[in-house]
């Protein structure tokens, strides 16, 4: 069951480009389940209770990165160090650790 239009244009069969409907529910969902799914959507999107920060952080990074539009901007996120950067488990350390291991494996 469609709840919304996709935000991006995609190529469909026959090469036609369009923004398709996004299926967010099953055809056999009853009204109660449909209502629940509509409420759960409060969590996502630009007004999403858990997702709105993504837009905010993306905006900061974009503003910082456009300092020189002709050059390449690299955001090292703590550099090559894999120690936790804050007193919390919510850090980028695991991601940096993964890429550090990947570089060693790939010899770069």
């Amino acid at each position: 069951m469609a709840f919304q239009k996709a935000s991006a244009v995609v190529a469909t069969k026959g090469g036609k480009r369009e923004r398709p409907d996004v299926e967010d529910a099953f055809e056999d969902d009853d009204e109660e389940m449909k209502e629940l799914r509509l409420k759960v959507n409060n969590l996502v999107g630009p007004a999403g209770l858990i997702s709105m920060e993504d837009g905010c952080v993306g905006g900061w990074v974009q503003r910082a990165a456009k300092a020189d539009p002709d050059a390449t901007t690299v955001m090292p996120m703590g550099g090559r160090n894999v120690e936790a950067s804050q007193g919390s488990r919510i850090t980028e350390a695991a991601v940096r650790g993964f890429w550090k291991g990947w570089r060693e494996c790939m010899g770069c």
């Binding site: 469609a2 919304q4 967010d24 509509l38 409420k39 209770l49 709105m52 920060e53 837009g55 905006g59």
Partner: protein, 165 residues
């Protein structure tokens, strides 16, 4: 022929009340008295923000969907204590108000809105525009929204939508 002015007076009085209520709604948000915002709705009132595209396509998804005052209070609580965003304020302009009809104690209205957003660095931009479709009722001697639907013309919200429209 003498026109009977009584119905016109009645319509005018209602229109002025609705206009004043719309202004109260806008200023509650624009003055950052957001804790008072849920009180502008009935206890089981609904508040939705959707897009013109979804409305025209009959697609039900809303950017914000609050079913009852409690969900609105949760939104404000999250905005104050949990969500991370750059400080900003709104300036609402509400225009083209029309009282569409009244029945069973419910007043159906619509209006246009424009929301200008000013960031903490001082830059102002057009953030949103669209239409309100509302159902109002009188409760405790004052108007409240039984349902407010804000339909955005745009389907691209700049950065985030944390303060209600």
């Amino acid at each position: 022929m003498r026109l009977d002015s009584a119905p016109i007076d009645r319509d005018l009085a209602l229109r002025l009340r609705v206009e004043d209520f719309y202004a109260e709604y806008a200023q509650t948000i624009d003055d950052d008295r957001l804790e008072d915002w849920p009180g502008l709705f009935t206890e089981h009132g609904t508040y939705r923000v959707t897009t013109r595209e979804n409305l025209d396509s009959g697609l039900p998804l809303a950017l914000i969907y609050c079913d009852g005052r409690s969900m609105m209070e949760d939104r404000i609580s999250a905005l104050r204590t949990a969500n991370i965003y750059e400080p900003h304020v709104y300036c609402h302009s509400t225009s083209a108000l029309r009282v569409l009809g009244t029945s069973g104690g419910e007043i159906r209205t619509r209006a246009n809105f424009t929301v200008l957003r000013t960031m903490s660095e001082g830059d102002t931009a057009i953030f949103a525009c669209g239409r309100y479709f509302d159902q109002l009722v009188e409760e405790d001697g004052r108007l409240r929204f039984r349902a407010r639907l804000a339909v955005l013309d745009s389907r691209q919200v700049d950065t985030l939508l944390v303060i209600p429209i």
